[in-house]
Symmetry: C2
Subunit: 146 residues, 2 copies
C-alpha cells in the first residue's frame, strides 16, 4: 500500500470509522485508477474484483470519502453523473475542455495563502480544495479561431 493510501486509511480511522473490507476495496480501486472515475466505473470495477460488495455500499463509501475530503465529485462532461477525483494532499486541479471534454491536470496552485486568509476570515477549518479551469484545449482552440 502506498504512503498516500496509508494516509487515507488513517484519516478514516481518525474520524472514527471502521476500515471494512468494502471501504478498503473501494479506496484501493480509486487509488489504482489515480482518480477520475465515475460512479459507474467504480461499480463496474467493484463488480469485477469483489462482486459480493453491494451497490449501496459503493455509494455509501463514495459519500463517506467525500465527507472526509479524500475524493471529490465533479461534473466533467454533461451534467448527468459525477466523476470522482482523488485529492492527494487535499487538493486537485485540472482544465476541462468544454468542447471535447478532455481533462488536463496540473499541479501548482499557489493557494496556500488564500486558504489561510479564508480560514481566518470565515473561521472555517479547510481540509481541501478543487480548482477547475475550463475553456478550449489546444486542439479545439485551433479549430475554432476567435
Amino acid at each position: 500500500m502506498s504512503d498516500q493510501a496509508n494516509l487515507r486509511v488513517q484519516r478514516l480511522r481518525d474520524a472514527g470509522y471502521k476500515l471494512t473490507n468494502a471501504r478498503l476495496t473501494i479506496l484501493t480501486i480509486l487509488e489504482q485508477h489515480g482518480g477520475h472515475m465515475t460512479s459507474a466505473d467504480v461499480l463496474e470495477e467493484v463488480d469485477a474484483v469483489a462482486p459480493e460488495i453491494g451497490r449501496a455500499s459503493v455509494f455509501r463509501s463514495l459519500d463517506l470519502f467525500t465527507r472526509l475530503s479524500l475524493i471529490r465529485p465533479t461534473y466533467i462532461n454533461d451534467s448527468s453523473t459525477p466523476t470522482y477525483v482523488l485529492l492527494p494532499g487535499g487538493h486537485h486541479h485540472h482544465i476541462i475542455c468544454t468542447n471535447c471534454d478532455r481533462v488536463i491536470e496540473f499541479e501548482d496552485c499557489h493557494l496556500e495563502k488564500l486558504e489561510h486568509e479564508l480560514e481566518q476570515k470565515f473561521r472555517v477549518r479547510l481540509t481541501g480544495h478543487l480548482l477547475e479551469f475550463y475553456g478550449l484545449c489546444d486542439n479545439c482552440a485551433a479549430r475554432q479561431p476567435d
Copy 2:
C-alpha cells in the same frame, strides 16, 4: 435585462446558437436566482413561469450553457443532482462545509496570473474557472474540536 444578462445572450449568439424562448426563459430564471440552483429548482421554476417548456429543453439548455461557460454544475450536498452556479465574469468561488452542506461564497481569487501561465503552458484558451474549498464551517468546527 441586466448587463450581465446581455453579455450571456451575446455569448449564445456569437457561438451560433439561436435565442429561443426556452433558452431565454431559463437563462432569465438563473439570473434572477443568482445561481446555486439544482436542476430540480430550475424545472420547478420553469413549470411555474412557462409550463409549455418541456423537461428535455431544460436539460438541453443547462448543458448548452455549461458548454458556453455561462454556468457550471457542481456537487454541493450529497444528493445526486448537480447544483448549477452562475459564472459572472467567468468565475465563481465558494467554501462547502462537508458536514452541514452550508455554502459560503467569496469573491477574490487572485488567479489571473495562474490562468495566464496555464494558457501559455498548455496552449489552451480559458474562459472561466470554479474554485471550491472544503472543510468545516465555524459552527461545525466548534462542535468537532480536534
